[in-house]
């Protein structure tokens, strides 16, 4: 029972961790909270499902959906970030809330507000492994999540573009003086975060059989919570925070009943912020640890 719940918590947590990484990457590089990431997450899942229903083979369809999610994120950059770079930090945040409303309403009008799900043949096959009941989707989802996290970490630490991202995070003016094309780096960062959010939306839709225009609201807020609990602007912290939120949620449902779920999650967030505002792994002040 305990191990099974822990396993389920880590599964749920890995979805939250992916969203938290998307949030934290933008927060770390640009000091901007993109509230519409929850809706990019939703669009990734809905577009993926639509492409599958249109008859595209599953993998190309999902990869295409992830790319579209990245492009949507570029649109957000164009309207909510680029023209507002000199404005106080609240203004881009509210502008992305505008995108949230826009995307939710558009998705509702185009796809209807009914819950949908990925086709039956993609439903999981359950199998027993020791004391654990594991479904095939859980394995695929967990493997994809880990792959994305490791891949992103390597991308940022090892590649030339990753170095550019880190330098822009450090200081945007200095990076520009030293010849980094900061506009390009910022666009790439937005694309990567959008693609990540879209991918985690698809994973979420597959594992919980829910695809709807409103599916992004709760994971979006929990992703922000995970980012903050883990320590803002810290990739590994986002993973820890995501796991923390996922495990808290699953355990409170298992041992305290379903109504206690949000109570426990937000209570934990509240206490975590009051007691340790810098997050579990966080170092807000230490600039060089930002990514």
């Amino acid at each position: 029972m305990f191990i099974q719940q822990l396993f389920n918590g880590i599964m749920l947590g890995s979805t939250y961790a992916l969203i938290a990484i998307a949030f934290t990457l933008l927060m770390g590089v640009l000091n901007m909270l993109n509230f519409a990431i929850g809706e990019v997450f939703m669009l990734g899942a809905i577009i993926g499902l639509t492409l599958v229903k249109l008859g595209l083979p599953i993998y190309p369809a999902l990869i295409l959906a992830v790319i579209i999610a990245g492009l949507v994120s570029l649109v957000i950059e164009r309207f909510s970030f680029r023209p507002l770079r000199q404005a106080p930090p609240l203004v881009p945040l509210l502008s992305t809330i505008g995108f949230s409303i826009l995307f939710q309403n558009t998705a509702e009008n185009l796809w209807g507000s009914e819950r949908d799900q990925f086709p039956q043949w993609m439903e999981p096959i359950d199998f027993q492994m020791g004391p654990l009941l594991i479904s095939s989707t859980q394995i695929i989802i967990f493997a994809t999540a880990v792959l994305l996290m490791v891949g992103l970490d390597l991308f940022i630490q090892r590649t030339r573009i990753g170095r550019g991202i880190r330098s822009v995070a450090e200081n945007i003016e200095t990076a520009s003086i030293l010849g980094v094309d900061s506009n390009r780096i910022i666009a790439i960062t937005f694309f990567v975060t959008g693609a990540l959010a879209g991918a985690s939306g698809i994973l979420f839709g597959l594992s919980f059989s829910i695809v709807s225009p409103f599916m992004g609201i709760e994971p979006g807020i929990k992703g922000i919570a995970a980012m903050i609990v883990g320590g803002m602007g810290n990739l590994r912290g986002a993973i820890v925070g995501g796991m923390f939120i996922g495990i808290t949620e699953v355990f409170s449902v298992a041992y305290l009943g379903a109504p206690a779920k949000d109570f426990a999650v937000y209570g934990a967030l509240f206490l975590a912020l009051i007691i340790r505002p810098q997050g579990i792994l966080g170092m807000i002040q230490a600039e060089k640890e930002r990514i």
Partner: protein, 286 residues
Amino acid sequence: MSSYYLDLFSAMGINILLALSVYSPLATGQLSIGNAGFMAIGAYVSAMLTVHLHLPLFPSLIAGGVFAGVVGVLVGFPALRIKGIFLAMVTLAFGEIVRNFFLNFLTSLTGGAYGFRGIGNRPVSLFWIWGCVAFFLILFFFLSRSRLGLTMMATHDDDTVSELIGINVVHLKVGSFGLGALIAGIAGGLYAHYYLYLEPEFFNVWQSIHMVLYVIMGGMLTFWGPVLGASIFTLLPESLRFLQDWRGAFFGAFIIGLMIARPSGLLTREILRLDFWLPGRRGNLG
């Protein structure tokens, strides 16, 4: 006045109060996206007092507001350690905790998820709502002219320097946070006794976000900004009825466009002084 306009102006008055409840902490630099929680506290407390204890409306409204204000001060104190986005998240978590509280606890008194019905004996009229709006507008008017208002503005601009020149930043921040909670609580009480029905789901994150939008759209540098923002936000969706299902999309696009066109909101200190057209004066105010 027809009941349609009656409802519209009541909603506008309540929204103005809610916008002022966000403006008050924001005037000292504290962003709260949990004011739906304080509104819920005021609504449920005042409704429980009138329904179960048969108290008159006026003391119940005051009690709901004061209770929300006390909770606000209790939340505001530990929240002093944190700023900006962290404070926003604490208040967001607080709002969700309150919503889940009324969803799961005291359900024999409030109906929980089924909704709180039967608040029917003492309905609030338009005059109650606009009376409260007038009271708080006068309060903010005198506050904005006072020394206290100046220190609030200073704290908003730079709280470290304010502390250095001897302003008691702790009192100011907790006080303005508590005042915001109190206004939200009174707005909640008015809401409960005007619409005569409450459900926890109404007080969700989006409710809090809308209150913040009123303030930022209207402009957060003077208290007239929230008033203007809340009024426009109440009337605009009504005037967009011809767009039908696409109202939300238009509304979202409107927010994005307005933020690009006027990042400081519609009303700025310059506009209120009406000297924004003078050469050389631009930009050194507000």
